[in-house]
């Protein structure tokens, strides 16, 4: 029990009459690498939105680190140690790349302000490969650099759980390897990672366990090997 970091219980979310999530339950161990897959529109992003509080769920509960966070606003969940990337990048457009990282450093991580925050932000940018872009307007980045910025901003929050929502889409295979390496190293330092990804070989290589979502329901859960062979998963993907 003590090493359980996230517990989602019977989560339900509707948009009008449309059921986006239906009775979704899952747990994530501290330090785990979990892959979340599913066809387009299966509810992956919606699940992340509910976990991080960007959307409120209609049914069910969310526990983080033993604490019920179901009704907490997103900023408190962020401060408790949840960080995420946005599938469609949402940089703070009026800020430089560097300032984008100062926000989570100062607020989510409640780290130092001023010079030390700048130094820490630069370190994160170095790791992610955006060091030279630090002073650029974030709105002027390419889509790919914006994806990297998403990941950098999540890292700057110094989370215990980092959720990456298709952070690698559009990246070259070398860059995918780079990002996988970065996430792997974060995981080595004890950070729990949930990775949503359509790049199948990346999820399969990275994850210790994979959950497959289809039409708002968990249809399969297991090791990467068992997932690939699962008939339901194959049907969901071929049918999609």
């Amino acid at each position: 029990m003590s090493d359980e970091l996230l517990r989602v219980g019977k989560l339900g979310k509707r948009f009008g009459g449309f059921v986006a999530l239906d009775n979704v339950s899952l747990t994530v161990r501290a330090g785990e690498r979990l892959g979340l897959i599913g066809p387009n529109g299966s509810g992956k992003t919606t699940l992340i939105n509910c976990i991080t509080g960007a959307l409120f769920n209609d049914q069910g509960t969310i526990h983080f680190d033993g604490r019920d966070v179901t009704l907490l606003p997103p900023f408190q969940r962020a401060r408790a140690g949840m960080a995420r990337t946005f599938q469609i990048p949402r940089p703070f457009r009026s800020m430089t790349v560097l300032e984008n990282l100062q926000v989570p450093l100062e607020y989510a991580a409640r780290g130092p302000s001023g010079r030390r925050a700048v130094d820490e932000a630069l370190e994160v940018l170095e790791v992610i490969g955006l060091r030279e872009r630090a002073q650029e307007d974030s709105a002027r980045l390419t889509q790919i650099d914006m994806r990297k910025l998403e990941l950098a901003r999540a890292m700057a929050a110094k989370p215990r759980l980092l959720i990456s929502d298709e952070a690698m889409a559009g990246l070259s295979s070398n860059e995918v390897d780079d990002v996988l390496g970065i996430l792997r190293r974060l995981n080595d330092t004890g950070i729990t990672i949930i990775m949503i990804e359509h790049i199948m070989h990346a999820v399969m290589r990275f994850s210790e366990r994979v959950i497959c979502l289809d039409a708002g329901q968990i249809i399969c859960e297991g090791t990467p090997q068992s997932i690939v062979q699962d008939a339901g998963v194959q049907r969901a993907y071929l049918g999609a």
Binding site: P73, F75, A78, A83, R90, P91, R93, P104, E106
Partner: protein, 314 residues
């Protein structure tokens, strides 16, 4: 701007203002400068919520009038001296700002803007029916006999307004480069992303409406002494509300310097036209300038300057 340059510039402006009072006696200049300074302070205050935080406020005249009428009421009830009246105007303005923020926490965009307008209308209606402060008829303020070492009361009032405006500019600048300022900018850019980065958006919005309200209340507090006869029509005037929005937009809302530049430019133009043509033109002038800037330079003067500097650097 480097801190040394900034504080040096503030000190220089203050010194110039003080020097002026020992050189120029003509009251017209102090009247004109007071109006420009008052507009600058209102623009700086508007920009904290409207520019830094991204919440457009149409009710500036309401906050300004709250400061003015706090002065009228407390002067009549207790005969407080000007410094205390200014503090009181700031306190009441700040409280109303906090209240407005609280009532509109979940409102965004145009709904928030309309709520601020409604607030100003409610306050104006209350003042119109509050006979203690003169109601719709208005009330006279006696100009105090004493005016420190200055030659006239208006000279002193000008220096007071200069001090207040410079303080507001200093607060605005400090805010814009602080942790709090980055939090406000994050709200303006993307509220969901801000929350997910740990920014307590609702709380910071309250801070922003409170600071804005307090600053506008302070800007309005000396107004009754300036006009000597206050009535709702002048305290809640459209002119004040329009200027408070237009000046930051023209100067540029993203930077603390924007509202200052916009206010100096528009304010000076208005004062010049007032003597050379007529004061009827004032709202027209700001309206035309606003349309020109919104179509040609939506980022305002500061935005244009930045783009130019960046191009030169590249």
């Amino acid at each position: 701007m480097k801190p040394v340059a900034f504080w040096g510039a503030l000190a220089a402006v203050l010194a110039a203002g003080l020097a002026l009072t020992s050189v120029v006696a003509n009251e017209y200049y102090y009247n004109a400068l007071y109006v420009i300074l008052q507009a600058t302070m209102m623009a700086v205050a508007w920009n904290i919520l409207g520019g830094f935080t991204g919440y457009v406020n149409f009710g500036s005249a309401g906050f300004f009038a709250i400061g003015a009428y706090t002065t009228v009421a407390l002067n009549k009830a207790l005969g407080l001296p000007l410094p205390l009246l200014i503090l009181a105007g700031g306190a009441v303005g700040g409280l109303v700002g906090l209240g407005l923020g609280y009532l509109t926490l979940r409102l965004k965009g145009v709904y928030f803007a309309i709520a601020t307008l409604a607030m100003a209308i409610v306050v104006e209606t209350l003042v119109n029916n509050w006979s203690y402060v003169g109601g719709a008829k208005g009330s006279y303020m006696l100009t105090p006999e004493k005016h420190l070492w200055f030659d006239s009361y208006i000279q002193m009032l000008f220096v007071v307004m200069l001090l207040l405006t410079l303080s507001a500019v200093a607060v605005s600048r400090a805010l814009s480069s602080s942790r709090l300022g980055r939090g406000l900018a994050a709200i303006r850019d993307d509220e969901v992303a801000a929350e997910c980065a740990g920014v307590p958006t609702l709380r910071l919005k309250l801070v922003s409406t409170t600071v804005m309200g307090a600053m506008m209340g302070i800007a309005g507090a000396p107004f009754p002494y300036f006009v000597t006869y206050v009535e709702p029509g002048s305290a809640f005037s459209l002119f004040i509300a329009v200027n408070a929005i237009a000046m930051p937009m023209i100067g540029g809302t993203a930077h603390w310097l924007g509202p200052v530049i916009g206010a100096l430019l528009v304010g000076t133009t208005q004062e010049i036209v007032k003597v050379t043509v007529s004061s009827e033109m004032n709202v027209l002038i700001v309206g035309v300038m606003l349309v020109v800037f919104i179509t040609l330079a939506p980022q305002g003067i500061v935005g244009v300057a930045r783009k130019y500097l960046r191009r030169r650097a590249a």
